[in-house]
């Protein structure tokens, strides 16, 4: 369902007001917007730019620099699988292949039913209980195929 633009802008303006007086507020603002809408709606960018006396290009430049910020909403659930070295040493590549096969999607894609978005992540700090994953903010250590299948059932 497309977001109502005036509702977006009124929430964005609230968020901007909450960040008044902050040093270097752009990342906190983008985080807050993404938390509200699940992504950063394009309509928000010119409003942020004007409020911070930046160009729209600068705001877009910041937003697109960071992996976290989405232009489009993700699926209902986001499954992040760690791809860093410590997890690789414990089979992270195998986990990634298993997940991609199971959900029928590649990295950054969402299943057709909109249930799951699959994202790579580089380190969750769970390197001594690898391989690691994060499901909607919940951490999972010592991931294996069975655990991944159980998660997949849960996320349907």
């Amino acid at each position: 369902m497309p977001l109502d633009e005036s509702a977006v802008l009124s929430r964005v303006n609230e968020i901007l007001a909450e960040h008044n007086g902050m040093e270097g507020p752009l990342l906190p603002i983008l985080h807050a917007i993404q938390e509200s809408f699940g992504h950063v709606p394009q309509a928000a960018l010119p409003v942020i730019a004007q409020h911070l006396t930046l160009s729209r290009a600068e705001v877009h430049g910041v937003m697109s620099f960071y992996h976290d910020f989405r232009e489009q909403p993700a699926g209902r659930h986001v499954l992040k699988l760690c791809r860093a070295e410590a997890c690789q040493s414990m089979g992270a590549d195998r986990m990634a292949e298993h997940a991609q096969r199971r959900f029928g999607i590649e990295w950054h894609e969402t299943t057709k039913d909109g249930a799951v978005t699959l994202e790579p992540v580089f380190c969750l700090g769970l390197c001594a209980c690898a391989p690691a994953a994060m499901v909607d903010g919940r951490l999972v250590g010592r991931l294996d195929e069975a655990r991944l299948d159980a998660l997949a059932e849960e996320l349907r």
Partner: protein, 509 residues
Amino acid sequence: MKIYVPGDAAAKALGADDVARAVVTEAAARGVEVTVVRNGSRGMIWLEPLVEIVTDQGRMGFGPMLVADVPALFGDAEAHPKALGLVEELPWMKRQTRLTFARVGVIDPLSLAEYELHHGLKGLRRAIAMEPAAIVQEVTDSGLRGRGGAGFPTGIKWKTVHDAQAPQKYIVCNADEGDSATFADRMLMEGDPFTLVEGMAIAGLAVGATKGYIYTRSEYPDAVSQMQKAIEIARAAGVLGASVLGSGRAFDMEVRVGAGAYVCGEETSLLNSLEGKRGVVRAKPPLPALEGFMGRPTVVNNVISLASVPVIMDRGAAFYKHFGMGRSHGTMALQIAGNVRFGGLFETAFGLSLGEIVDDIGGGTASGRPVKAVQVGGPLGAWFPRELFDTPFTYEDFAAKGGLIGHAGLTIADDTVDMLKMARFAMEFCAIESCGKCTPCRIGAVRGVETLDRIGGGDASGIPLLTDLCETMKSGSLCALGGFTPYPVMSALTHFPDDFTATHKEAAE
């Protein structure tokens, strides 16, 4: 009955929340009054969730705990199948020198009263009674060097900021711990956040900064919320604010969260990100110590550097300095990770050999296969073969062997690892994470992936090209991302040349 169930992210990832709930439910069913404390992790990740019960003899440990193991805790605990005995007496604990991590896993992380009972705030109180220059001198004398990886003397950095004249100065804590195999910053922020608050307050008093920022990662939601809570508690108790512990001197701080860019762990990129810009690396000079956050003099220190300051101020520079080896003074929080039997955090004085760490403390691989290579210092660190296992763990000794200790993370890999693939991954990672400012990194990493694919396809003429490219990246990049990516690549090629030959590829297929 008092029971500790870690609230550390690794323990939670292994089911600690379920275990904690089961403890409460079981106790209620039995009519037993129980206090559950969510402590930090002791660092023995292979035993997590590690539950502790307070007894007259001390804290008895049980782990790794499953929900099904909980009811038996309320029976004859000593006969519990997961009983480990007194936690403090376990060999892993007894062999450590816990200075920075002394309280992690021990206290309730958000109890300021417990923090003070365990020597908390003593360093800050002593600092308040000292002249700022004397605090800087004390830190300099301790021999403390940057624990983020660069190893620059912390006291020297502080002195530059102390001597700078400016209407506003800042303390910025680099908690953007993005290196694979590192989790010490996370464990400290989750398990003993007041130590970081205290360390930053001391830094503020020392250099004349009144505002601090902790820049951490969105991948660390638990650490973020724990630090935010600790800051609020510290503020309410007058540890932070307009008059730190009634000293009449101000210091306050806040947490900022990154957005998934690895390069923001580089200090100048971090500062740009903190200012709300793209996390692009800045050329140095000017040093951040003179023109840092918002162009003002700024101390940028790693979490572990700042968290080591309270114990230095409490026990004195000489106490801290006498630990270690050569010019590497004090202790280092080793993070033993990857394919390892006993993985976790082990704080010890500098100087253990790599072999002792991997074979003896880590117990070899989890898979039971031989150790083939150990990457020391994160994704920008070199891979060490068994032939170099006698290297002592110090800044200088690792540099002398073509490596670095970085943030002291170790990724252990068994003999199934393909070093060509790991070299390719290093280049690929650099290509994904490059901020794009300098050409050797931005373009070099992409060419590096292509060249490694050629080599993997059996074209040995790619090897001199790769070597040359690494040389260019090493000497021509603006920061450690492009500059150090050659470490994993060249160490893989140098120490494991067989993985880069056509016969190897054929054998694998």
